[in-house]
Amino acid sequence: MQRLNLKQLAERSQGFAPGHRACAGCAFPSIIRMLLAAGADYDLVIANATGCMEVVTTIMPYSAWPVPWVHNAFENAGATISGIERAYKALLKRGKIKNAKKPVKFVAIGGDGGTYDIGLQALSGAIERGHDFLYVLYDNEGYMNTGIQRSSATPLHAHTTTSPAGTVIPGKQQPRKDLTKIIAMHRPRYAAQGSPAFWNDLVKKFQKGLEVDGPAFVAVLSTCPPGWGTPENMSIELTKLAVETRFWPLYEYEDGYWKVNYKPRKFVPVEEFLKHQGRFKHIMKRPELIKEIQDEIEKNWKELLWLESRKKEEEK
């Protein structure tokens, strides 16, 4: 696998056209550029679930996509990419299409609504059947396309329009579902969590996910300024703080083994991540609620380190 420097990344990610209608400060265009840069060694076919990304990048008659791209519906990116992958195999086998110049890889992209919630079944089925595809989740922690509603990715106490910070109930009452672990327990060829602030790590994860022959999954935290109530110029910094506070740990799962890719040297309290965000404003003066979020982080981190402690025979 070629390690890419910033210059190479910039050169390789050409093609995702400007002029798409993503909000200022939205993190996913950066994520897509990194994906396309990582995928430049292949011919990619993309299936995109309904969501912000689909909407803003393909308003008829324009398209920002430099690669074949298909949108079917909200909950079926996993099934759609299954069909595309098998069609390619069938047509190639029967000599109805020519071999592409580069190896062909199949990518499905969905937001957290289309992945954690409504599309989980189709994704689960596609991984179990062993299709050769990389699923990229851009997780902005809510249904942002429909106007900021809670999803099962929305963190504890976050305000959304369907988990509003009220006078009695302070935002969402449940922590988020641990989707990456759920996916890992399907035993795909590769599963990982990444952040656009750690571009080197993220590009490597995309490269690994594309390289394996079989299902792969990469979850990426993606800032949503209108949904999170954050300044447009802080998006990447926030995805860095999410990792530094261990709110969004970077890790990967390969062949049954877990690896935490980044362990912050010093403790950064979760307030450092929360305090910039309007969706947590209502709890900033309620330390007992912040503590609940911190406790959740500690619990998850401990579990992750325990998972990582299981070493391969040769490493013992």
Binding site: I59, N72, G78, S82, R86, A87, I97, A100, S124
Partner: protein, 395 residues
Amino acid sequence: MEKGTFIKMALTGNEAYAYAMKQINPDVVAAYPITPATEIVQIFSKYVANGEVDTEFIPVESEHSALSACVGASVGGARVMTGTSSQGLALMHEIQYIAAGLRLPIVMAVANRTLSAPINIHGDHSDTMGSRDSGWIQIYTENANEAYHSVIMAIKIAETVNLPAMVMLDGFIISHEMEVVNTLPDEEVKKFIGERKPLYNLFDFENPVTVGPLDLQDYYFEHKRQQMEAMFNAKKVILEITKKYNDTFGTDIPAFVEPYRLDDAEYAVVALSSAASTLKEIIDEWREKGEKVGLLRLRITRPFPYEEVKKYLSGIKAVGVMDRAETHSTLGGPMLQEVKAALYDAEKRPKITGFVFGLGGRDFDDEQANTVLSMIKDLKDGKELPLYSFIGVRE
């Protein structure tokens, strides 16, 4: 093959359908089991496992994913088939519209079965009648032999007009009943259907396409208008392909409608699928008694054969329309409403009544058929009848 010489096989409706699929040897099949269509997928899986077809078979985790994977594969340019029933078709509902809107010639077998609740696995037309507005060509077959030939024709029709097509067989009554099917040799099927010529090549990486973009007020209507044009065009294409099929193989499959003893009929019944067979038997008996009664079987309901309905029923004194489904509108079954609409501007408009029968697989027997004909005769003779009646139900 000499015209009119068939390979006779004893097959159930499901077996006939699966056998046609084997001969078609589609590029991709994605399906999920559901009674009474399960066998189609089962038999086809065996063909795959035994190398009798080299189709890529995707055993998905739901019907929603079955049709979603079919959409993906069809966008990829593959010839794609699936099959389902009832709740499965209902679960596919969302994607049916997408398949049609993206102009994908997917062909689907539907073994007609009623919808829950109450749950019931037997045959009626509630499932596919719920898909009337989804943009699919809808073909209701009368028996296993017709189902077999209809599937092969459906491939050609769908791929000519770039619209999806569903071919129906009555659940259990046809899907599980064995009869002699006049099959064609593999090479004749291959020759007739030819190759699918997709509108674009998704895997042409030099010329990447974006499929399924957001289409707002400024373009959506034009795309829907084009889709509608394809359905208008389908009328002509269906007539041509059916004629070519019958001319080539010596079959006698009607295109949109099958008129039965209608020439001098004073009153008539309209029916779909296997119920038409029962009615034909009873009509023969009534004819022997000197009654001038006939039948019009609707075979294709999307596009709706309004011209044929007008042609055959205009001037007949009384018509009864059979529906094995409800609309819950209190306006009668779906076919009653559509036949009425087609006859509204007929020169000689018949008196019309409707019958809802056979829901949940209730047998449609001779007694019911006799009751239906008697009531239509009464209507002809001036008796007032309700908008529609329920036949064969305990009131």
